[in-house]
Amino acid sequence: MANRVSRRQFMTRSGLALGGAIIAPQVLAACGGGGGDEAATKGVYFENWPEYIDTASDGSVYGPGTTLALFTKETGIPIKYVQTLNDNNEFFAKIQPLLSAGKTIGPNVVAPTYWMAARLLDLKWLDKLPLSKIPNAKNLVSGLQKPPSDPTGDYSLPWQAGTTGIAYNVKATGGKELRSIQDLWDPALKGKVTVVTEMRDTIGLIAMSLGIDISTANTLAQYQPAYDELKKQVDSGQIKQFTGNEYVGPLEDGSTAACIAWSGDVLGMKNPDVRYVVPESGGTLWFDTMTIPKGAPNVDDVAKWMDFVYDPVNAARITAAVRFMSPVQGVQEVLRSKGGEDAVLAENPLLFPDDATKARLHTFANLSDAEEQKMDEAFSKISGA
């Protein structure tokens, strides 16, 4: 989840590899200190993931015709946009010392993935959205209203979404089309299957294949059968590796025949032999959110921004650029009406799944700190850490 660009984990890991991996929270606190000074008396300061908004032809996010430029032009509100969110856990480690001490962080809108947003909400580190000033919030697609991560829908609006399912290289599967998680355990694919390091995706898909409802199950005990299945497939050698986005290369060259994969990655692949399916038993739906960190200033300006990007015309511009599922109703129609390449995107089932596929998509239930910890640890044990 939260893997919209292949670059992301890659950059994260290179950062780790080149040192700086071991940073005590105290040190991070020192680095983050004073961030609050940057917030101007007026304006929006949005911290988002890389390559997650449209840019001008020169690559600038503020260039002419971009969503950011149009926003400032239309509302007169300045917006500062940074692409420094690289990893949910690192982001958390950065803001934790400030928010737990009752200080504000610099940005007044941040984009944690839904489960991280749920954690922040649980820790009471989020402020309520001024929904009365965001009339376009009514355009939120029905599937993402009041998700388990934000049961009242008062604290977050989705930014972009995507699905997790099965990707396979039809040449490497010997012409076989895969439809279910059980197909991954086919002895013919032994040692040619990978799963992702994101616990909620790997466990979620396996759990659904075993008939567990992931939108309600919220304890390790309930997921135990999925853990047992995963362990069995790792021990037997059926599963080759746990990966981040690096499954892309092996899947394209066929050395990985099938894997658990993110829709956004598959959308970026050129190989016609690589196919993506949301398993019959269900796939996961993930999304990144826009949330307001506790005590952030200029909330009215933030409301204007959220209202702006929930206008389907603006949302469609972002979708055409970033190619993730839009949480805004009406984007498909806008893209269709634009014609050309945009109209082709409007018919892409990875961006706009049909109703039958949508019905199979589920979002992972909220986990308490204690259960999440147990599930993360059990998952790490199986992946060898």
């Binding site: 890991r13 071991i22 040692g191 790792v234 060259d253 066929g254 910890q373 993360d376 850490a385």
Partner: protein, 274 residues
């Protein structure tokens, strides 16, 4: 303060302070996840380090040790050849040894995933070996991890060995020959002992980072080849259990220091200033 030499300040800042932070973290406890740990003389992190993560410790030292031996076996002859036969190309050859390391460590490791891939050129040849079946593979095996470690750190073996060989006056071998020694005997009795400081330094420079590495096993290995670095990374960044990660790091550091001390007893560190 004027008495503090730059070296002492450097050690204080970049060694002692981080180690103390680590010690403090390793003896802390977290009543609830995501709440900063508090210092409490909590030794349970250390007992867990020994009781739960033995396989990863064993693999770390096994892989790093094997990689170090391989690096000596490959690096020594290469350094010897460059030092004795390199002639006016010596600097160029040493430059060539170093050139690959201008590229990011991560990129080089990921490149090996294509080279060792199940559809790659090497696996085809490997499967022709009589004891390897048609489903034999290199990627996602311990050998791929050891190979990656050897490759990534071998220049740290070659360079110190080269430097100590370079300092040797090879007229000594001529003298040995004059006194009736065979070439092999002269090498064993004269050159090898004189180059030992290089081998010692190289071994440390390869073994220590290799034992703590987690990148090679992540890309080239599998769930069955994870090393202690994998666990430390996971505990720090995923579980966010700083005390456990700190305790594991401390244990790793103590074991490595002990091994280095024992090793230096055997090889001697005099003349280590290569």
């Amino acid at each position: 303060m004027g008495m503090l030499s730059p070296g002492v300040i450097w050690l204080l800042l970049f060694f002692l302070v981080p180690v103390l932070i680590l010690v403090k973290a390793s003896l802390s406890s977290t009543p609830r996840r995501f709440i900063p740990p508090t210092f409490s003389w909590d030794w349970s992190n250390y007992t867990a380090a020994f009781s739960q993560y033995q396989p990863q410790f064993v693999r770390s030292f096994g892989y790093a040790g094997t990689a170090t031996i391989l690096a000596i076996l490959i690096g020594y002859p290469l350094a010897y050849w460059i030092a004795t036969q390199g002639g006016r190309f010596k600097n160029l050859l040493i430059g060539l040894v170093v050139v690959p390391f201008f590229i990011s460590y991560l990129i080089r490791t990921i490149a090996w995933t294509s080279i060792l891939s199940d559809n790659g050129p090497f696996v085809g040849l490997y499967r022709l070996l009589p004891w390897v079946g048609s489903d034999g593979r290199l990627l996602a095996t311990p050998w791929a991890v050891i190979g990656g470690l050897t490759y990534n750190f071998i220049s740290f073996m070659i360079l110190p060995i080269y430097v100590s060989l370079e300092k040797i006056d090879f007229r000594l071998t001529e003298a040995a020959a004059d006194l009736g020694s065979t070439a092999w005997h002269a090498f064993r009795k004269v050159v090898l002992p004189l180059s030992m400081p290089g081998v010692f330094a190289g071994s440390l420079l390869v073994f220590i980072p290799a034992a703590g590495d987690y990148i090679n096993t992540y890309y080239l290995g599998s769930a069955k080849t994870t090393m202690i670095g994998t666990v430390v990374q996971d505990q720090f960044l995923k579980q966010q259990d700083y005390p456990q990660a700190a305790a594991l790091s401390m244990v790793l550091m103590v074991i490595i220091t002990t091994m280095v001390l024992i090793y230096s007893k055997f090889l001697g560190t005099e003349g280590l200033a290569v």
